[in-house]
């Protein structure tokens, strides 16, 4: 590994921890990335196919070697099939996460989930109403049970369209109808995507991509949306909350417990256990000042949004947090958890606990969490973490945490605006805020860690564009100080004025990756207020450092919902210039929005700004010329 830590990350804690990792002779994600180079160009271009056993096949992009797979599929079909399966996997991940939450809701309704309860009754009733459930005079738990059943129907095969699509503007729903991409069932669309990509089924590259759009929509307006709403119902709808971010959130004098993964089903119970007075007393008796819970990635974001729990790091920091030597126990459930973590923990005293029946990892202790045992199991394990406190070796926490504000659910934003989106819309109309961008997604060693996010966002807010962020981006901006009380200094004059007046930072933390649906809901609210479609709004999306299949699903549903989306790393589509053209131009005719790919965040900012000004002009608002 190179000594040039600043080529790998822009963050101070990242650079210092990389140095520690090298001293401790740890193999990191960057080492493994370097060892993989050069990565196979066929796969990078989407031109390799392993779908059937007549293969594996590849297509020569130079036109001389094989041009078709054994079955006869050409480059367009192969690329489309591969992309379709990535969407299916991403959508399935989000939707399965939602399913687990619905099962908890059902268990709560049946009284079989000790520790869980209905937190936001108002939201429960509201959502139940959207599902056509009669709430008058009904017991809360009964409503919960009926809502759970209704949501489970959305997962199935009985419906012609998902319930929550109603939240989208009518014009947008018409676009989906016309394109034939209205999602019918959450599991159904994933299943059909897998069917269509089997050899000899869908061999139309356009129809394959349209199914991918439908599959992604079944995630965005289906599985993810259910996940977020049920999480709000069970654990509380987020409100603005103080928090902090980076390695410094770990405390040298506390028992440190870190949660990593995605589903609050597990992390909420860990939080409860960390606050248990008996266990706290035990910790004190062991010489700890308390029990400190910190988060990594999305499950950390879920706890941050609802309880202000601090974030230790994002995707590329997950190995390094263990190298602090300060973590007694690290819980994981599923998604984005590197299988290398167990080995890294082996060099320290950290106990690694896997909790999901769906997700095993090398060198982790497996303790399965289910709605009926979660509350108790959490306590047993947190006690073990406290007992591990005395096994600490050298502790290295090289930075102080950066304070930040999070918790901006749509409800919270509307609340901060005074109860309606009017003030925001007026600010946009007046041009004080040019538009809004959702910057989302992960980290990727192909892009200098956090460089893509921070550089892009700095350009956007400096040019009066409001930014909302989720996932790993949200951690990056919190670490960079874009979410504390001084953050307005980075904003352009218009944005500074509005944010100052409302009392919010120029970058609003909207949650975890499933919470990207909050952006859809907000966009819909704005579109409805202006009597238009989402695609007419001065909005954009960006994923400057994405890596996961979930990110592809999110990107597709964002574009399908009418939001122009700029990706940093190139997806595996360059094997088909037809598909590149469709995704970056043609989709405009079908969906009213497109993708763009631009790894240089400064150039990406220009693309987005040009797009926003163009949309402003389209709405009859004042528009600037961007050079």
């Amino acid at each position: 590994m190179s000594k040039n830590y600043n080529e790998k990350t822009i963050t101070t804690d990242g650079q210092l921890m990389l140095k520690k990792a090298e001293k401790d002779q740890l193999e990191t994600v960057w080492d493994r990335y370097e060892a993989q180079l050069p990565q196979c160009g066929y796969c990078e271009m989407g031109l390799s196919c392993r779908i059937c056993n007549m293969g594996p096949c590849r297509v020569d992009p130079f036109g001389e070697g094989p041009q078709k797979g054994v079955c006869g599929a050409d480059a367009d079909i192969i690329v489309a099939r591969n992309l379709g399966r990535m969407v299916a996997s991403g959508a399935a991940s989000h939707s399965d996460h939602g399913r687990d939450l619905v099962e908890v809701l059902e268990a709560v309704a049946e009284g079989k989930a000790p520790g869980y309860h209905i937190n936001d009754e108002e939201k429960l009733k509201r959502v139940a109403g959207e599902y056509g459930i009669d709430i008058d005079g009904k017991d809360i738990l009964k409503i919960a049970g009926e809502l759970a059943h209704a949501m489970q129907e959305d997962y199935g095969t009985r419906k012609k369209s998902l319930t929550l699509l109603q939240r989208a503007p009518e014009a947008r729903r018409k676009v989906w109808e016309k394109a034939g991409v209205t999602p019918r069932g959450i599991d159904r669309e994933t299943s059909e995507m897998m069917h269509r990509t089997h050899m000899g089924v869908d061999n139309g590259w356009v129809s394959l991509l349209l199914q991918a759009v439908r599959n992604a929509l079944s995630d965005g307006w289906g599985g993810s949306m259910i996940a977020t709403d049920v999480s709000d119902i069970l654990y509380g709808t987020p409100k603005p909350v103080q928090t902090s971010a980076n390695m410094g959130v770990l405390k040298a004098d506390h028992v440190n417990i870190v949660v990593h993964g995605h589903n609050p089903v597990v992390s909420e119970m860990i939080l409860l256990a960390c606050r248990d007075s008996d266990i706290l007393a035990m910790a004190k008796s062991k010489g700890a000042a308390g029990i400190n819970l910190a988060g990594l990635c999305c499950t950390g974001n879920e706890l941050l949004m609802r309880h202000g729990v601090a974030m230790a790091g994002n995707h590329l920091m997950t190995e390094l947090v263990i190298a602090t030597g300060a973590v007694e126990m690290l819980f994981v459930d599923y998604q984005c958890i590197m299988p290398s973590l167990g080995n890294i923990a082996g060099c320290y005293h950290t106990k690694m606990i896997s909790t999901s029946d769906k997700a095993r990892f090398p060198n982790m202790e497996h303790h399965e969490f289910h709605p009926d045992n979660a509350a108790d199991l959490a306590k047993i394990l947190v006690r073990k973490a406290v007992e591990n406190f005395e096994n600490r070796g050298e502790v290295y926490i090289p930075v102080d945490p950066v304070p930040a504000v999070g918790g901006f659910s749509v409800e919270a934003i509307i609340g901060a605006l005074g109860g309606t989106p009017e003030p925001l819309i007026n600010a946009i109309k007046a041009g004080k805020i040019r538009g809004a961008v959702g910057v989302v997604g992960c980290n990727n060693p192909k892009i200098k860690h956090d460089y893509g996010h921070i550089t892009l966002i700095k350009e956007l807010i400096g040019n009066d564009i409001l930014v909302v962020d989720t996932g790993c981006v949200a951690v990056a901006t919190a670490k960079a100080g874009f979410k504390n009380s001084e953050a307005v200094q980075f904003a352009g004059p218009g944005l500074k004025e509005i944010c100052g007046a409302i009392g919010v930072p120029p970058v609003l933390h909207m949650g975890s990756c499933v919470d990207n649906v909050r952006i859809l809901v907000l966009a819909s609210a704005l579109a409805d207020a202006l009597g238009t479609d989402i695609s007419a709004l001065p909005l954009a999306g960006a994923a400057p450092e994405w890596y996961s299949e979930k990110a592809i699903s999110i990107g597709v549903y964002a574009v399908a919902s009418g939001i122009y989306t700029v990706l940093g790393p190139m997806p595996p589509i360059t094997g088909s210039m037809n598909i590149v053209k469709l995704l970056t131009e043609g989709l405009n005719d079908v969906l009213g929005a497109t993708f763009a790919v631009e790894p240089d965040p400064e150039k990406a900012a220009l693309l987005i700004r040009k797009h926003i000004e163009k949309k402003r002009a389209g709405l009859g608002l004042d528009s600037r010329d961007i050079k």
Binding site: M1, S2, K3, E22, K23, Q25, L26, E27, E34, A35
Partner: protein, 414 residues
């Protein structure tokens, strides 16, 4: 045309083969003091170690001279050269009318180097060796069989290889070195320390800073007295204190001599028609940019070949020599090249990287934008790229740090 080549080491051999390739008629005489058929000198330490039998040292057949119509005059050392009369004079050994005087039109001095002698009492005791040639090693092998402990003077290439070989043979070995780490002329301090650690790990005893003042023993050496007063018991001693070009017979008033015989880019000395090549020759060092003697095998090969071409009438320029070395020490490989210990000035830039997890060390020295020196520990298979870059003095146009990475390869230079 009468060619005479003094020395039948690889420089002389290459010259002879080259001349014969270009000129099938002229007479070639080779005068050398060793009578073995041409062999590879650097490999003698492998014989000491037991890795190869002495027979495998030969790099040309017994019929080498016959096949190339070369007149061999072996077992003799040259005593002087009469430049004016174009004559080479050898030690006279009365063996039935042997010639003692040879005439030349073109002469190549490729007499190599001899082990540098030390001053100490008791040097005449048995089982004290310099290790320069095949016969030295054959004698050492006889002693080895009965020896239990050995003392090596000097941490240079010869001393080092002797120590390594004897350790592999199961002797207890003590090495006396002047600097803090072995191979101080070949490697820098970080690499030197890694080498030292590896050797000590395998049982080598090292004493730093001490010198031997005298040897003691009956007829065979039994111990050495050091300058600090201590005594080291040993039944075998190997002295590796460097080599000196063998040029006692060279008339310095006619042929310019520094440490070695000075030559120009055609390997010709200051005396027209007289050339020099190999360990005895001195020409500019490409990395150091000053005249230097790089007494290593690949340079002897190169110089011998080029001297031969120039002598046979084809004018070819020699760019200069380059110090380089590769050595395998138990589980560790070390390769060095050029000027790896530069002067501390603004023209020179040093970058290095150590990777403890993978046990790698790499150091590169640049002068402005050209690579002038390098040290590698482990993963040495890309070393030739650096040697080639130093040799050709190609300006480096890529980020220099990229060259430190273990994945650095030829493509990155394109």
């Amino acid at each position: 045309m009468n060619y005479i080549i003094i020395g039948n080491g690889i420089a002389g051999i290459q010259a002879a083969e080259t001349i014969r390739q270009m000129d099938s008629e002229s007479g070639i005489t080779m005068i050398g003091d060793e009578t073995f058929s041409p062999y590879c000198r650097p490999m003698i330490s492998l014989v000491l170690e037991g890795a190869i039998p002495p027979e495998k040292l030969a790099i040309r057949g017994e019929d080498f001279y016959e096949k190339l119509h070369i007149e061999p005059v072996l077992g003799n050392r040259v005593t002087n050269i009469d430049v004016a009369d174009r004559q080479v004079i050898i030690d006279h050994r009365p063996k039935g009318g042997r010639k003692t005087c040879f005439s030349f039109d073109k002469l190549l001095i490729a007499s190599g180097a001899d082990a540098r002698p030390i001053k100490a009492e008791g040097l005449n005791l048995k089982n004290i060796f310099y290790m320069r040639g095949r016969s030295d090693v054959l004698e050492m092998m006889e002693t080895l069989a009965k020896a239990k402990s050995a003392l090596v003077l000097g941490g240079g290439l010869v001393g080092f290889k002797a120590a390594y070989g004897m350790m592999k043979r199961g002797l207890e070995v003590t090495m006396l070195i002047k600097s803090g780490y072995p191979l101080s002329m070949q490697v820098d301090e970080p690499a030197g320390n890694l080498i030292l650690k590896e050797l000590v790990r395998h049982g080598l005893n090292v004493r730093v800073g001490a010198e031997v003042s005298s040897f003691e023993g009956d007829r065979h050496v039994t111990g050495a007295h050091l300058s600090d007063g201590s005594v080291i018991r040993c039944d075998m001693v190997v002295i590796g204190k460097g080599v000196l070009p063998s040029l006692s017979f060279v008339p310095r008033d006619r042929i310019k001599v520094d440490l070695g015989i000075m030559v120009d880019e055609h390997l010709e000395t200051t005396s027209p028609g007289i050339y020099a090549a190999g360990d005895v020759a001195e020409y500019v060092d490409i990395a150091r940019k000053t005249p230097w003697v790089n007494a290593i095998w690949p340079e002897a090969v190169n110089q011998g070949k080029l001297a031969g071409m120039n002598m046979a009438g084809r004018s070819v320029a020699y760019k200069g020599s380059l110090s380089r070395n590769v050595i395998r020490i138990f589980d560790m490989d070390v390769m060095t090249c050029g000027l790896f210990h530069p002067p501390d000035d603004s023209d020179h830039q040093v970058i290095s990287e150590i990777n403890p997890r993978k046990n790698l060390y790499r150091k590169l020295v640049f002068k402005n934008d050209t690579l002038v020196g390098m040290v590698m520990v482990n993963q040495i298979d890309q070393g030739g790229l650096f040697a080639a870059l130093i040799q050709s003095e190609t300006p480096i146009r890529i980020p220099k740090e990229a060259m430190l990475s273990p994945v650095f390869n030829y493509k990155q230079l394109l």
